[in-house]
Symmetry: C2
Amino acid sequence: MPYDPSAFPPFAVTVDLVVLTVRRHALCALAVRRGEAPFQGRWALPGGFVRADEDLAQAAARELAEETGLHAHDPSAPAQDNGAHLEQLATYGDPERDPRMRVVSVAHLALAPDLPAPRAGGDASNARWAPVEELLQQGGYGRDGEPLAPLAFDHAQILADGVERARSKIEYSSLATAFCTPEFTVGELRRVYEAVWGVALDPRNFHRKVTGTPGFLVPTGGTTTRQGGRPAQLFRAGGATLLNPPMLRPEV
Amino acid sequence: MPYDPSAFPPFAVTVDLVVLTVRRHALCALAVRRGEAPFQGRWALPGGFVRADEDLAQAAARELAEETGLHAHDPSAPAQDNGAHLEQLATYGDPERDPRMRVVSVAHLALAPDLPAPRAGGDASNARWAPVEELLQQGGYGRDGEPLAPLAFDHAQILADGVERARSKIEYSSLATAFCTPEFTVGELRRVYEAVWGVALDPRNFHRKVTGTPGFLVPTGGTTTRQGGRPAQLFRAGGATLLNPPMLRPEV
DNA sequence: GTGTTTATCGTCAGGCAGACGACTATGATC
DNA sequence: GATCATAGTCGTCTGCCTGACGATAAACAC
């Protein structure tokens, strides 16, 4: 196979982002409204072209900052700086996935704490946090009466893959803390698990499990009442990234 | 961001393959010798350009067939047809990873039973199964006296990622059976785990675990002596793909 | 036959998870 | 201020799974 620059077809390479957060006890994803054809007016995942001198992770971090103002922190640095967790998800390259040209999209998954309203080039009506079930559901009407159209391109598949990755990864890693503010209570962390998995967890067993796992949580000393009951201890994320034994997701 | 075909730089897109198998109690990967610059004469992972009308998975399956004669079976079809397991691994797109041009490589992971000698365009000296430690180790000399040079491009990183994926995935899935022939014994499956993890496992506890996990193994009725001791029962892979509870990898 | 090798079954103790009772500390309501 | 609702935290108990390891079974080598 000698080197022949004309022997390979040119591709466009993009990054698409599955940005997840927990809002009002529901797992939500960032969606932006498309301004041009194809799929004009439809909701899609944020994303854009990779630049000529840019690594894939850099491109994803740039798009994330443009869409949300979040900066991704280096996964190798365990420090909690309120930045988002960002990791590569998967790559989608069906020849027909974009009718304009051959596009290969490297999807990334970002997990962020609950944020104020998103911005998309300053136009708030063109970006929103939507519950993932609503984005993945086809037909019918959303909570605001808007008709539910499927996401543009193959973005429903990408979103589903991202949600599945998040659901399984919080089982055996401390990644659920990426959905929390730098300081959080055990109850807030439990509500993250409940929202992502869509199940109810026993507060007592959950408390025993997370406080008993070395390196998962570090008490800061402070206490806070955010929900109206007894004040809760505040924690930061510990250095541990892999949980052994893992959190167990209840059956079905 | 209006559509402008000149607004994005062209990329070459390739698939690279991490093909793993277990040979003589060691985890081995398929390596091919590069015939041209850059990295001429160095060992590399097999791979090639994605064609204009090809999906990424199709391209990976085609490359796998060209290099090994294996055909990948559809992951959605649980039938064991002696084909290899093939799944997407990750995508590597550093601007400097190929000195010739901007190349984005979508790496795939293939798991195969022990195979006869590989072929690479009919030239056996340009393809081989090598223990992964040997390929990842830098400097020194291999078992055949050949000097150990690092793999070409960023293939050492890709191989390391593929090995780590395989090591973790056999914990919670039935993927270890992809390293076995269609019919296998519990002992052969155990030796797969031992080779991939590099540890020794208790035969009695392993037997209890795998035969007690519903859907993991299906007895075929036959028995065979392949190692010189008492004849062992033969099994096929069951329909289960996720193991719950998982196999536990011993510490360190 | 005796020893070696591999496969398979059983037993036992320790650890962890699910179910759930009890107590504590706050705000809301009367 | 007493009472109630809410949320957090500590314990107990039981069942299951795992790791350690003894014992038996069935082949081959000599």
